[in-house]
Subunit: 256 residues, 2 copies
Amino acid sequence: MKKLTTVYDRSRVPLYVQVASVMRQRIETGHWVEGDKISTLEELESEFGVARVTIRQAIELLRGEGLLDAQQGRGTFVSGKPMHNRWLNLANDFDKVVASIKDNVIKRVHIEENVAAPELDPHEGQAADAYTFLRSIQYNRGEPFSAVNLYLAKEIFDRDRKRFTNAAALPMLVEMKDVTIAHAFQTLTIGVADPETAEHLKIGLGEPTADCRLVLLDDKGVALYVADIHYRKDCFALRVDLLENVKSKDRSKISA
Amino acid sequence: MKKLTTVYDRSRVPLYVQVASVMRQRIETGHWVEGDKISTLEELESEFGVARVTIRQAIELLRGEGLLDAQQGRGTFVSGKPMHNRWLNLANDFDKVVASIKDNVIKRVHIEENVAAPELDPHEGQAADAYTFLRSIQYNRGEPFSAVNLYLAKEIFDRDRKRFTNAAALPMLVEMKDVTIAHAFQTLTIGVADPETAEHLKIGLGEPTADCRLVLLDDKGVALYVADIHYRKDCFALRVDLLENVKSKDRSKISA
DNA sequence: CTCAATTTGTTCGTATGTATG
DNA sequence: ACATACATACGAACAAATTGA
């Protein structure tokens, strides 16, 4: 009883769900490998400081996901890995971002014209006169992996309403000869899914997402393109070689 | 009852916690601004599709966090913002990473010599002969914001055991004249806190974290430094101007 | 083959939390 | 605030399957 209330001080998520999350991560990261026999119930009890039944509930949860297989008298075994959709590599140079978006399969789920300007941080430039709001879902192999809420300057949208309605906006914007993109601010944080996003990405309400905001400014500092992108956490990764810009490498090593 | 089981299909987190998560995010992102009167209970009921009491539980949870203030007969008001510790900007060029780590206050919580090599992906190079394992917590204004699990090649550690025990390892490694860092692979994903990490970061078990793996290879492709860093999600952000490397900017605009 | 040790599976009672209407 | 139903969590005892001596 004391345990129970103590635990709930930090997180009101059911204990067995918390335990299952940790176990799932261990499988995902390769700490527990497929075929391995994991610790006994008693060991897990004392490791997590919870009752036997709670451990069993967690195991049952993962059994339903095909990750664990408990066998009476023998032990509990790792029986699979979660689908690692970690194929998505968020690019961190502009060309790659544009290129990766170009090939995406998207579905527009909502368009609204003449909406209020999005809220912009001071460093994110000035708002344009008017915006069009476009919401789309991006798919890979039929599975949704990101939801995009885009504020596109009305002036840009009106240049080719039809194409902007049906295709990814960013490549089209970049191709416009008379538009100069002076800055492309990208901010990545961890957020949670609101009801709409959860529905579109087929995840639970309040589950974590990787939230990426992309703001494109023209040479006058006007925000032409303001996108809030919510990625499913399980298909998100960002991989970089910090030394791929040779200047950094040289500087750090030559000066040392 | 039908609603209940339907909702639980996707996430076994208590409904009112899910609802509270979404509300918290709305305040955090500025969608709901301090002083605002939020929707009435009835509107919220129908928006989330849950019972009145469930909404009130969510509000009560946020009231405890100082974010909402419900006043009988008047409505419910936003009374504060969550502490936005989003001061942490994960750097994405090597020099900045080194510089930012240099000033951190760290606390070593564990050191173990001659540990097994960390698991490395194929692209993450070859393991060194032996490693020393160091775990440390990084603090800002007395609050923990990240937990670091570092595998440092024994050969490197032994060069200055004392300093490596007490200070951040990365800057020291970079300063070694006869060590060449050929690659610095950084991978960022979203993970969950295991019991130890949760304890150190003072968050709930299974809560999401920003997980950053940093692998430094020497010119022979040996992994000298393998760090798994878990950031509290609420003090994590990654901000980049994708056009700061001029080459990208020029290419995309001149070719168009 | 039997026995004992190990390990998962099941059940009971109790208390509290969650969600509806 | 109440009545109702179900979920979560504990601890402990007992049952059933597997393994190896």
